[in-house]
Amino acid sequence: MISLNHYLALSGVLFALGFYGVLVRRSAILILIAVELMLAAVSINFVAFASYLDAKLFTGVIFAIFVITIAAAEVGLALGIVLRIYRERSTANVDEASTLKW
């Protein structure tokens, strides 16, 4: 029998992995990939709670839909910014793009 704790532990591990990626990566796109992992972990948490504890209203599922929507918008916008930075500085590494004004 799969318990709720299975899902919570999995999403905890996934979130920690994404956090590791956010902390250690240099490229802005790789950081975005790690952020996507963290968002996926949060989605698993939402849906698990909705399925196990909130059978009638399943609000967590609705929340997960919004999480996916906002994640898509965030990726689109962030990649636009990354392209712009790359064109100005010819690098997409966040530690090299450290000035606010060129």
Binding site: M1, I2, S3, L4, N5, H6, Y7, L8, A9, L10, S11, G12, V13, L14, F15, A16, L17, F19, G21, L23, V24, R25, S27, I29, L30, L32, I33, A34, E36, L37, A40, I44, V47, A50, S51, Y52, A55, L57, F58, T59, V61, I62, A64, I65, F66, I68, T69, A71, A72, A73, V75, G76, L77, L79, G80, I81, V82, L83, S90, D95
Partner: protein, 204 residues
């Protein structure tokens, strides 16, 4: 015999590691399932968990940026499987469409357009050991807290498309419209930021 150029060291070691860890994992799970120690749903759960973790570890440790993006797709597909196990078919479909389709393609496009591939890239910063320590501590704290918790929980029946539609459009209509507005603004903003500047005389 020398290896072909495409077959670099990371692919060889990755294949060997995948076979050495993945095959015993799958065989052990199948045997446990066949012997009746764990239910079929649990076998599927552990397979999907392994898939998600392999994809996640690959996407945060790979030195090849394209491999990292594709590993994210693997992890996202595993998450879609988890949504299926959690009886949310709609979310599983959305996950496959949005991540397998949109996000992966966007990331790959951006990687291709920003990747100066002629020099060896250093993908991880010098803060790596500290980041590893912090993430490890956070993971241990979160997992230990979550494993120890006890819930009065039972899995539900399938969340039907009809129920989701009712909830989404009746009770969450305004947030839904706001989300569509956010998407529109984000995409227009992305185009405005990323597009090449034309001559200033044109703008004036």
């Amino acid at each position: 015999m020398p290896l072909p150029a495409q077959l670099d060291r990371t692919i060889v070691t990755g294949t060997i590691m995948a076979s050495a860890i993945g095959l015993p994992y799958i065989v052990a799970l199948s045997l446990l399932g066949l012997m009746g120690r764990i239910s079929g749903a649990e076998v599927v759960w552990w397979l999907l968990a392994g898939l998600i973790l392999v994809g996640a570890i690959g996407s945060v440790t790979s030195n090849n940026v394209v491999h990292a993006a594709l590993s994210l797709v693997v992890a996202a597909m595993g998450v879609a499987g988890m949504f299926l196990l959690l009886a949310s078919e709609f979310l599983a479909l959305v996950q496959v469409l949005v991540y397998g389709g949109g996000v992966a393609i966007l990331l790959l496009f951006a990687l291709m357009m920003t990747n100066a591939s002629d020099d060896p890239i250093v993908v991880d910063g010098s803060q790596k050991p500290f980041g590893f320590g912090v993430a490890l501590i956070m993971g241990i704290v979160m997992v230990s807290a979550m494993v120890g918790a006890s819930w009065d929980a039972t899995i539900t029946t399938v969340v039907s498309f009809r129920d989701i539609g009712t909830r989404l459009y009746r009770d969450y209509g305004v947030p839904f419209e706001v989300a569509s507005l956010v998407l529109l603004v984000a995409l227009v903003g992305a185009i405005a930021i990323a597009r090449r500047d034309t001559e200033e005389s044109d703008a004036a």
